[in-house]
Subunit: 239 residues, 3 copies
Amino acid sequence: MRLSERPGILSMFEDMHSVSPVLERYTKQVLLGALWEGPELSGRDRSLVALTVMISRNQTAHMASYLDLALDSGVSPDEISEVIAHLAFYTGWANAMLAVAVTKVIFERRGITTDQLSPATIDLLPVDAIAEEQRARAVVDKFGTTVPELVQFTNDVLFADVWRRPGLSLRDRSLITVCMVIATSQVTVLSYYLNRSMDSGLTRVEVSHIMTQLAFYSGWSTVYSALPVVKDVFESRPN
Amino acid sequence: MRLSERPGILSMFEDMHSVSPVLERYTKQVLLGALWEGPELSGRDRSLVALTVMISRNQTAHMASYLDLALDSGVSPDEISEVIAHLAFYTGWANAMLAVAVTKVIFERRGITTDQLSPATIDLLPVDAIAEEQRARAVVDKFGTTVPELVQFTNDVLFADVWRRPGLSLRDRSLITVCMVIATSQVTVLSYYLNRSMDSGLTRVEVSHIMTQLAFYSGWSTVYSALPVVKDVFESRPN
Amino acid sequence: MRLSERPGILSMFEDMHSVSPVLERYTKQVLLGALWEGPELSGRDRSLVALTVMISRNQTAHMASYLDLALDSGVSPDEISEVIAHLAFYTGWANAMLAVAVTKVIFERRGITTDQLSPATIDLLPVDAIAEEQRARAVVDKFGTTVPELVQFTNDVLFADVWRRPGLSLRDRSLITVCMVIATSQVTVLSYYLNRSMDSGLTRVEVSHIMTQLAFYSGWSTVYSALPVVKDVFESRPN
């Protein structure tokens, strides 16, 4: 079922029609038409972008609809589970707790049970040991004396555990991290995560259309604030 | 009815009195007294500022009271409708959807129907063709190869359609865009929109008092982060 | 009662278990274990950090649990009252109003009445007259012609009244202001408030562990965006 055919989305149009007829037109023609039907980015990626914005900004009103859409578009329950745990670290525990409460209802309704989710402890993905050691040492060198405990959590939990769990690919983890960073206007850390996402497989065309998708869900101004960094990253990379 | 006399506002004082007597005093003396009674900015503009902050930040708790206040202060239903559609683009679709849900109730209660709102398609305001072509070409030159689809939406939908709809004046569109930018800490794009707002009629005195109004609704720190840009813009303009 | 033993927190684990088993593990082992049990920062300070993030970001879902925790950890009702009034100015009136609504229920349940709170007007803390005059003059010099009314509110209400109320120590006011600034990504004003917090008694060790606590509640990326400033401030101070 396409986004434009979903009951939760359709019922919105009645409200929109009575409050802002032009917004109804933009939603039908531009958002659900031109944007979501665009072939350059999969519905799966588009729903990951939208969901990440909603979790990062604590926006629960339509989160359930977009969870359903994500699950129907090829995001697995396990991937949803890992997205929420990943964003707990990046955007704060309270945001993740809210996403848990909404997701619980959707999982129950769909009969999704814990045995479809990765266990709490699992064999981790292999890692490029040299690159990872460089990354870890760079953080220690930069902030090890300022915030030793935080650097330890960053290296021992976030990078040595969260990022290496197999339930969500490195490409998808990078994608949602980039979206979270832009949706919450953390432009200073964008360059690192954008390069990381392209190192792990996101193409320029995908990044470009992720920015467009983000503009609609996170707002034009957050994306235009980020574009100078995106342009620099594109120009500084061979691929 | 002044803000300080509205039932929704008055009932807040009981809560405040039992939780923070000093906040009750600041609200009565400073917010509703000195600030809202200040003659340098109209109640209409003040309510647009407050409403824009609430939509941009997804703050629904008092949105209904401020919608009522805006409508009583000279903001027309059609202007509300256009504010929401405008902010859908700038601050994200989910924020606009939430505003739609709150506004629908207010419109129904007041008997406001769709025939009081601009239709989805309408004759657009004329535009300074040369200035607009320069603006459009500047975006293409800057980001056309990085995000071609987004640049196309920006030029064909946001500037060639949204900004030119007659239901909300260019001055008011600029005003709410500036407020949204500051309320969500997008300082890097502020200079452009602040100049645009002053080109379309906002005076220095109005901008100055919009900043004060914003301080109370969006927080002191967001405004102080923006003030260096405001100062630069004031100093760089003849008027 | 420790955070990990509170009924509101315990009931969360069931939801987490069915949605993200790994998040349940991180919450138990890392958040409630390693982090909250860390001896370098008191439970009182930790709950102030968490509560400030929630108020600054309009996150009500677990605010009641954290208010209870704060009150059980040595934050007095009067201090809660002053935190909310302080953050009304820094993060916006609508955020404070939401906190008032949640706090009212907690105060009623605990039988906390207005006579346990500082009155609206009270003898103010003494101030270093020379330092305060320098601060006030610096704001006037910088922004006095741009936003005269806002500068007046800043000097006459925020600094000459709010900051000097005895119900919340200068150290705690600085602590929550620093946390609010980072949780809402206002990095440009961080240096001033961080220095102010260390001038009023926060140690490097406390600041360092406040950053770690913030990482979990406000998100890794907000804290890493702020760390260059924290490092600079540490290096520029004798103590």
